[in-house]
């Protein structure tokens, strides 16, 4: 469905070149659901804009839905749907009017467009707002309208740039229900970017981690976490016996960092333990045998944030430090 070869984009700002996207190779098969995850300024939107013909690549090629983005941009546009990072509705227009016109832009007839618009308004909880002008909607309502705009023509390939930003949990769930249904019913291919790690984690099969314009990981969320991060284990032992297990825990961390905090007569060790749930019981026994029984234990499964930290040494939330 999507194939890119060394796709790159440079911006020139005040004679300085910003390499927003650096030679990325992306392959997305029909029916896949792929999430781009990365900090602010990583190049997510720029990549999406190139794939949707809103930006011309500086170099490299991209084929989207079988069509080259540079030689036939109109052909690409006819085959995709795009929900940008900004609000798509015109300020002074009525919600329902914008939806129907959007359908018309894609060649739907008025009756179909109207029926589809009403269906979307209903399921995105916007029916009561149909006749409001866009400027009078709240941020979350506007975002839901954006989603409705993008879904109007039921595209085979849909790009969503941070679709759920600004939505409350209820509406995020609604959005995901839509996306899941579109995939089940039409086999829609979906490419999205998100700032919500849990979203990338639980909803998409495949996560592409992007940082400084480069793809630094591309795999299922489960495998990324298992291979790169491992569970976070925290154990506390009495201060007196800390030296008895330091070596043991260091070996368990397998080259990873072993953190240590002492307070109130206890020492708290923290380490990453791949397959922690399976290995922890044996580790506890070893600690016991070494004469330093654990007083408490905490085991946290890894998040994609941990994966990002492992890959870059930075926290996803801290941003790209530009």
């Amino acid at each position: 469905m999507i194939h890119t070869d060394k796709l790159s984009k440079n911006f020139v700002v005040k004679k300085e070149t910003v390499e927003a996207v650096k030679a990325v190779n992306i392959d997305v098969a029909p029916g896949e659901l792929v999430a781009f995850l990365g900090p602010n300024g990583a190049g997510k939107s720029t990549t999406l804009r190139m794939l949707t013909t809103l930006l011309r690549p500086t170099s490299g090629t991209a084929t989207v839905a079988g069509v080259n983005v540079v030689s036939d941009p109109a052909g690409v546009r006819a085959r995709i749907g795009y929900i940008g990072q900004g609000n798509g509705g015109g300020h002074s227009f009525r919600v329902i009017d914008e939806l129907i016109m959007q359908g018309r832009f894609y060649g739907m007839n008025t009756a179909d467009a109207k029926a589809r618009a009403e269906e979307l308004l209903k399921s995105l909880d916007l029916t009561d707002l149909a006749k409001r002008t866009v400027i009078k909607l709240s941020g979350g309502q506007r975002r839901r309208m954006d989603v409705a705009l993008g879904l109007m023509h039921s595209p085979r390939l849909l790009f969503l740039d941070e679709p759920s930003t600004g939505m409350d949990p209820q509406n995020r769930a609604n959005l995901w229900e839509h996306i899941t249904r579109m995939r089940a019913e039409y086999g829609t291919t979906i490419v999205l970017t998100t700032h919500y790690m849990d979203e990338a984690d639980t909803m998409s099969e495949r996560v592409i981690v992007i940082d400084h314009g480069q793809i630094i990981a591309d795999d299922t969320a489960a495998r990324l976490k298992a291979n790169l991060a491992g569970d976070l284990l925290a154990v506390e032992v009495a201060a007196g016996s800390a030296q008895d297990v330091r070596g043991l825990l260091g070996r368990a961390a397998a080259g990873g960092e072993l953190q240590e905090n002492a307070s109130d007569g206890v020492v708290r060790f923290r380490l990453r333990l791949p397959e922690g749930a399976r290995l922890a019981p044996a580790l506890l026994k070893e600690m016991n045998d070494a004469g330093a029984p654990a007083q408490s234990l905490e085991l946290k499964p890894p998040t994609l944030d941990d994966v990002f930290l492992e890959l870059t040494g930075r926290n996803l939330r801290e941003g790209a430090n530009r």
Partner: protein, 268 residues
Amino acid sequence: MAVGTSQDVIKKPGLFQILKDTRYVFWREMLLPLRDPFSLIFSLIQPLVFLGLFGPLLGSAVGAPAFGGQSTLQWFLPGVVVMIALFGTSMTGSNLQYELMTGSYERILATPLSRSSLMIGRALKEWAPLVVQGLLIALACIPFGFVFYPLHVLFGLVILGIFGIGLGALSYALALVSQSKEWIFWAVQQTLLFPLMILSGIMLPVEAGPDWMKTASLFNPLTYLVNAERELFAGNVGTDTLAGLLAAVVSAAVGLFVGVRTTNRNIK
């Protein structure tokens, strides 16, 4: 690298596609005034007020011979209509500015609509009220000695529509290049519009001015447009009309060329 290699032929939309897309863009824009009838009514009667106040002054200010022997109204009215068309279509880009700031422009840019239809549809929306305004003005002036030739006037309005597409597309391009610096749009629009208007004899005959003005007016497409409208409003079709039509078509072609180019440049 492999961007736009020689065998990449960029497919152009057909004329039929452009017409169809233009219809949609036009309709979307028309929903704004249609959903707001007060603004519509106000904009329709506005020219009447202007005409009612300015017309009587005109006859006394300039000697009758300069008007080519026509009645003041017959001479002045086409000028007013052209002026309304100019003000309207040169604002095409101003509505776009809001859409550029939100994601609305980008959303529409991502649809399959052809690039030229985006500006033609918007320009025609600014032109559309003129049809009603023009006819209203003409009707209102009949009691004051204006002779109304409906078909000629309609043809005149069509010529203005064609010219309006060109001016609208230029205004659209101007909005794109002055993105995020709103004042530039207005500065350029105003700075260009008024000299062009004065040098076309819209309000006062250029014949009464110095020679350099007369020469300058020959290079102004608006001059031909105004002359064509005067001929048509007087109930004649002749060389002036033809020259005006030609000026309108050339303006439209140039405007669209610049507009589409600017749109495509903007995505670099």
